[in-house]
């Protein structure tokens, strides 16, 4: 057991799989010599060499096309899109090519690849380097989407993503890179499609993802001090979605809140609210409420970014008000 940062956990997870399977390669801008602009791939070039850890030009379409072509011919590449916002310049490769090719070819083509990406806000980077794009990916049939919130989950979910035979969008939250957590020694292999209850509770269920998990947990502690016992679930995997854990919790507590960093419209929480309405409506004791960033781009000034993103205070206040009404 060792304390590890979230950023170091990324490299540990990739290294664990590269040691096991020589078909695993890493490709992306500045991932080799520089160890990644977020330092999430430090040490991989030294250990695995330049044929397996490849620096690329600023050519996101070429990077993902290379990953796709390699995956369909027997390799298991991990490609990095430095900031998830940059998916917008290579979305064709993701949506039209990677996501659809197995289906369109009647199952002839397998695409075991991972696209890792720095995702999310809170770093004052402004609207083109701060987006939470999980919802973009979740909307496309054929893509799996995970967002770990702890260093241990980073290692285990990265391993699961690399071992999976389908394309996985692996969203690393930039705001969590410096965070630390206990990580067990030895290989860690987690499972896609599994949510985790981070804090059990009786009065309400809070769903959260990425950097919203620690904020939801902090809000839950604040609410506990005021006599409200809320359950916090780390969704972790949007596709596949662990509806058993999520809806089971909602049925027990009778209340559902989602905490979403993304802008409001069509967020993942809306989909889960719809599922809850369809499948456990009669277990609900009150309206479902989504706590999201308003439907605006993220501003860069720290005061404004903090104002618009869900915070420990805004989460606690919203839930307290709802539970007491």
């Amino acid at each position: 057991m060792a304390q590890l940062t979230y950023r170091d956990a990324v490299a540990r997870g990739i290294a664990q799989e590269m040691r096991r399977d020589e078909r695993v390669l890493l490709v992306g801008e500045d991932v080799a010599g520089a160890g990644g602009v977020f330092k999430t791939t430090v040490g991989l070039l030294d250990e695995f060499g330049p044929t397996r850890v490849v620096d690329t030009p600023i050519s996101e379409q070429a990077i993902l096309g290379a990953a796709m072509g390699a995956a369909m011919t027997g390799l298991r590449p991990v490609a990095e899109i430095m900031f998830s916002d940059f998916f917008a310049v290579c979305w064709d490769i993701v949506v039209n090519q990677i996501a659809k090719t197995r289906y369109m070819t009647g199952g002839q083509v397998s695409l075991p690849l991972v696209i890792k990406t720095g995702n999310g806000g809170g770093l004052r980077f402004g609207a083109q380097h701060s987006q939470s794009i999980e919802n973009w990916a979740m909307a496309i049939p054929g893509l799996k989407v995970v967002t770990p919130s702890t260093p241990e989950d980073v290692v285990g979910l990265m391993a699961a993503a690399i071992r999976d035979d389908d394309p996985v969008i692996f969203c690393e939250h930039k705001g969590l890179y410096a965070s630390k957590g206990e990580v067990p020694d030895g290989d860690i292999i987690d499972s896609l499609g599994t949510a985790k209850v981070r804090r059990p509770g009786r009065d309400a269920t809070i769903l959260s993802l990425g950097m919203m998990v620690p904020r939801a947990l902090a809000a839950a502690e604040a609410l506990a001090a005021r006599g409200m016992d809320v359950e916090v679930i780390d969704v972790r995997s949007l596709v596949p979605l662990d509806t058993q854990t999520i809806l089971g919790s909602v049925s027990r507590t009778g209340r559902l809140f989602t905490v979403e960093e993304n802008p409001q419209l069509l967020g993942w929480g809306a989909e889960i609210a719809s599922l809850a309405s369809d499948e456990c409506f009669w277990d609900l004791d009150g309206p479902i409420q989504r706590i999201t960033t308003p439907h605006i781009p993220l501003p860069s000034a720290d005061s404004l970014e903090d104002l618009v993103m869900p915070s420990e205070e805004s989460i606690a206040t919203t839930i307290e008000k709802a539970l007491q009404s």
Partner: protein, 354 residues
């Protein structure tokens, strides 16, 4: 330089005419068995696609289709030159490239008809023909994307040391999209074993490529930007294509990196089913129809001593094969309804939740 679209009005640009000398490759060192193979391959493509067109007119082929009638020499020339385990990446205009890799006609035609015995079970259609077991790694319908994907297959071959080469076919219009330039630079930087083949039929969909491109030769004039030699060939002469293909494949296999070949050709019809191609000067269309790759090649084989009877026998065999494929495709069942819910994921299903 020329000012595209200011020198003339739309559809009235000067005709671009084919070469006059059709005998210049008669003496090339190509085995006669390869040459009859080239003829047979082109004949298969021609008869197959004409049949596909007829079936479209009978409303048996749905959606759209993009024919390569008149462009067969490129697909045939590469098909004959490629190693069995090389990779083909084609566009939505991919029927000929699929047949060129030895994919049987029945599943290809059945796919166009949306039948269960189609190559993709009816889930891909004309624009996505794929047969991994034949090295036909897919037909891609978004301009430019598959150049980057061909790089990946080439990267994989390079990493595995397999000696395989990826060959990627695309149209002249592709040279103006970003992915083309990303892919060329990428392939050159890593010396990937990939051959990029621009089928310059002189029209990007409905507009003359020369009107909307800053250089005269849409692919060849871009080669130097990526440290590559400009290679411009007659795409209507199967021998010229075959020899150029061999050189590029050898270069890739030797570890000397990618090639960019511009093969000048002409499509006999419009861009797709919806397009009669009326924007093309009639003297240009007539001149290119007279420079038909099958006619050019048939005449050559006769000059080289192949008997007319032998060629007629090939024609008859090809026609019989297309007839059989037509019957088998039309007789195919509709896809089972449940097949719409298979093969999204590697586990064979489509579930996104537990």
């Amino acid at each position: 330089m020329r000012s595209p679209l200011t020198d003339h009005v739309y559809g009235q640009h000067a005709s671009v005419l084919p070469p006059q000398d059709q005998t210049r490759h008669d003496g090339d060192d190509i085995d006669l068995a390869v040459r009859t193979g080239l003829y047979r391959s082109m004949r298969e493509m021609r008869v197959f696609e004409k049949r596909a067109y007829d079936l479209f007119m009978k409303q048996l082929v749905k959606g759209t289709s993009h024919l390569s009638l008149g462009m067969e020499a490129i697909a045939a020339g590469f098909g004959q030159a490629m190693r069995r385990d090389d990779y083909t990446f084609a566009t939505y205009r991919g029927h000929a490239h699929t047949l060129a890799r030895g994919v049987p006609m029945t599943p290809v035609l059945a796919e166009l008809l949306g039948r269960a015995n189609g190559l993709l079970g009816g889930k891909g259609g004309s624009m996505h023909l794929t047969s991994v077991e034949h090295g036909m790694m897919g037909s891609y319908a978004i301009i430019g994307a598959h150049l980057t994907i061909a790089n990946g297959a080439a990267w994989s071959a390079q990493y595995r040391g397999s000696g395989q080469v990826a060959v990627c076919f695309f149209g002249d219009g592709t040279t103006n999209i970003g992915a083309f330039h990303e892919a060329l630079n990428y392939a050159a930087v890593y010396k990937l074993p990939v051959v990029f083949v621009c089928e310059n039929n002189m029209y990007m969909e409905y507009t003359s490529i020369f009107d909307i491109t800053a250089v005269e030769r849409p692919a060849a004039d871009r080669a130097s930007a990526y440290g590559l030699e400009p290679v411009l060939i007659d795409g209507n002469d199967a021998d010229e294509v075959y020899l150029a293909a061999g050189r590029a494949l050898d270069r890739a296999r030797a570890g000397d990196g990618p090639s960019l070949i511009e093969a000048v050709t002409y499509r006999h019809g419009g861009h797709s089913r919806a397009d009669p191609g009326k924007y093309r000067p009639s003297e240009e269309v007539e001149a290119w129809k007279a420079y038909d790759p099958l006619d050019v090649y048939r005449d050559r084989l006769i000059r080289l001593g192949v008997s007319a009877d032998e060629l007629l026998a090939i024609d008859a065999e090809v026609l019989a094969a297309v007839d059989t494929a037509t019957q088998e495709a039309i007789a195919g069942d509709l896809p089972a309804p449940e097949s719409a819910f298979t093969d999204l994921w590697a586990d064979g299903g489509w579930s996104w939740r537990n």
